[in-house]
């Protein structure tokens, strides 16, 4: 489809722009794509995401692919640039990583609710699973600017599925790596090292981004210790802009009521204690408007 208007309708919030590919480079099993996107970098905060149309024009792949924003640069010669990390596991993402410098992509960004930053300069532990670590580096920069200590935990199934180990060494006070198969760092899950890191550095906030089971575990550890956690969820989205109601999960509101909320507009960042982790993928019986009996059919 054609690029939307590049005239900003709002001073904040998402823009729909024609992005120009600058570079596509490999990073382990992933690809880092840098593109110029007028106006986006200035509006982006850590935890925001971008929704990218795939397949060219016209396309048989109607749904945008959403990626958390890895880095932005407002000072580039091309105007603002944006970096995303892509796991080319399907036809849409494969199309995307095959783009060449100079190619156009249609991008909507920044989208979603970003991470909140602590008011006090407390110690923060950032936990990334696989390429879920992508938004944590920009977050680390903002936290350090506020005087927060930043310790980083990166976990993945195997060494090639880790993302950001080199950058992590540079930007974090300490870096801890775990792999399920022991091919790098500690063998096991991130939870195998998290408690010790929180103890050692007096971590007061955990920030996490990665697969749901990892986020659930992080939120559980934070709750046990009585500290805060913020988790950026990876739910399948169709539109990314809040209209399709696809990317919902059960979240407890300020009024104590559970609702099915959109991860694209109410998230992707949620406070860990608000998400009903055990019920993700279901509609809990006590959710607002839950069916009394299960219904089939209709749309």
């Amino acid at each position: 489809m054609s690029a939307g208007s590049e005239t900003a309708r709002t001073a904040t919030g998402p823009l729909q722009v024609r992005g120009e590919i600058l570079t596509v480079r490999r990073a382990g099993d992933y690809f880092v794509i840098v593109f110029a996107a007028p106006g986006v970098a200035e509006r982006t905060r850590p935890g925001h995401f971008a929704a990218v149309a795939v397949g060219g024009h016209p396309t048989a792949m109607l749904l945008r692919r959403s990626f958390s924003i890895h880095q932005v640069d407002t000072s580039g010669a091309m105007g603002g640039t944006v970096e995303i990390v892509v796991d080319a596991h399907g036809p849409g993402t494969k199309w995307l990583v095959e783009r060449k410098p100079g190619d156009s992509i249609n991008v909507i960004a920044p989208l979603g609710r970003p991470f909140s930053l602590p008011k006090e300069p407390v110690a923060c532990v950032l936990v990334g699973g696989g390429y879920g670590s992508a938004p944590l580096f920009m977050l680390a920069d903002r936290l350090r600017e506020r005087g927060c200590r930043v310790d980083l935990v990166l976990g993945a199934a195997t060494a090639s599925k880790l993302f950001g180990v080199v950058d992590g060494r540079r930007m974090a006070s300490s870096l801890h790596v775990t792999t399920d198969d022991g091919s790098m760092g500690t063998k096991g899950r991130v939870t195998a090292v998290l408690d010790r890191i929180l103890d050692d550095y007096d971590g007061q906030v955990i920030y996490g981004c990665g697969p749901m089971p990892m986020l659930a575990a992080i939120a559980g550890i934070a709750q046990q210790r009585g500290i805060a956690s913020q988790t950026a969820v990876e739910e399948a989205m169709a539109c990314g802009v809040g209209v399709c109601m696809t990317c919902v999960l059960p979240v407890i509101g300020a009024d104590g009521v559970t609702r099915m909320v959109r991860s694209c507009t109410d998230g992707p960042v949620f406070f860990g204690e608000d998400v009903r982790w055990a019920d993700v993928g279901t509609v809990p019986d006590d959710c607002l408007g839950a069916p009394v009996v299960s219904q089939q059919g209709g749309k």
């Binding site: 489809m1 939307g4 309708r9 016209p58 109607l62 999960l249 607002l288």
Partner: protein
Amino acid sequence: MTNSVDMRANLAGAVLASPILTASGCAAAGRELDRFFDITEIGAVVTKSIMSAPRSGRATPRMAETPAGMLNSIGLQGPGIEEFIAKDLAWLRQRGARTVVSIAGGSVNEFAELAARLRHEEGISAIEVNISCPNVENRGQVFACDPMSASSVVHAVRRNTSTLMPIFAKLSPDVTDIADIARSCVAAGADGLSMINTTLGMVINTDTMRPALGGITGGLSGPAIRPMAVRCVWQVRQALPDTPILGMGGIATGLDALQFLLAGANAVSVGTVVFNDPSAPMRIQQELAAALADRGFASVADAINYAHREQE
């Protein structure tokens, strides 16, 4: 060039500045899309079908991408009519957008109550009746698939709505003869017909080797179903030459919209393409104006039914 075309559309007395509307379920209540284009500049916002009570919708996964389309099984998640009126309708009114309110019910009575509740609300251009819901009082059979059930719903809505308010019944393509259902709805008091709703489909996830959607089956939409939609508009136009039709089904460009007008639609809704391009309604409106001008049409009205003309 393009501004010379009279883009006004008339949906059973509701005069709209443009024949491009959003489609129910693909635009929420307009607020999210207003970030991408000025929603007051299109024909109208058709809101997501609203029911009496708050509704959680179905478990995830709710969506599967398909070739040139998608399958969805949302389950009519929504805040219920009271919150809809207080928040969504109030916002649309304050914003100055023209609004078509889509209503959905699990029983004839629920449709009647929804119509009655909306009767004295300001800022509604038309009511769209989503009869593609399972009738909980009849083993879950979809109202839109049975002429009698469809007729009962439309009749109940008509009785509880001002005679000045256009009522459009939204038809399902999953029927043997869509013209039959169309006639029943018009006989029961529908001023116009919206078509088509999604068509029932299914995807199996070959990794889990289970149905891809939490709801097992889902509604197929997008350009993949466009020829089916154009066919339905054509057939109903042939059967009911004077009934206003709001056409929809896979419209992604101005030329797609033109096909619907030529087949007999008086206006069109733009749905699934919004997930690909949230500014699509405005883009399609501009493309349609250009396409009409290119073909020498002075107005939208002149293009309606044009494909039905006698051979020259």
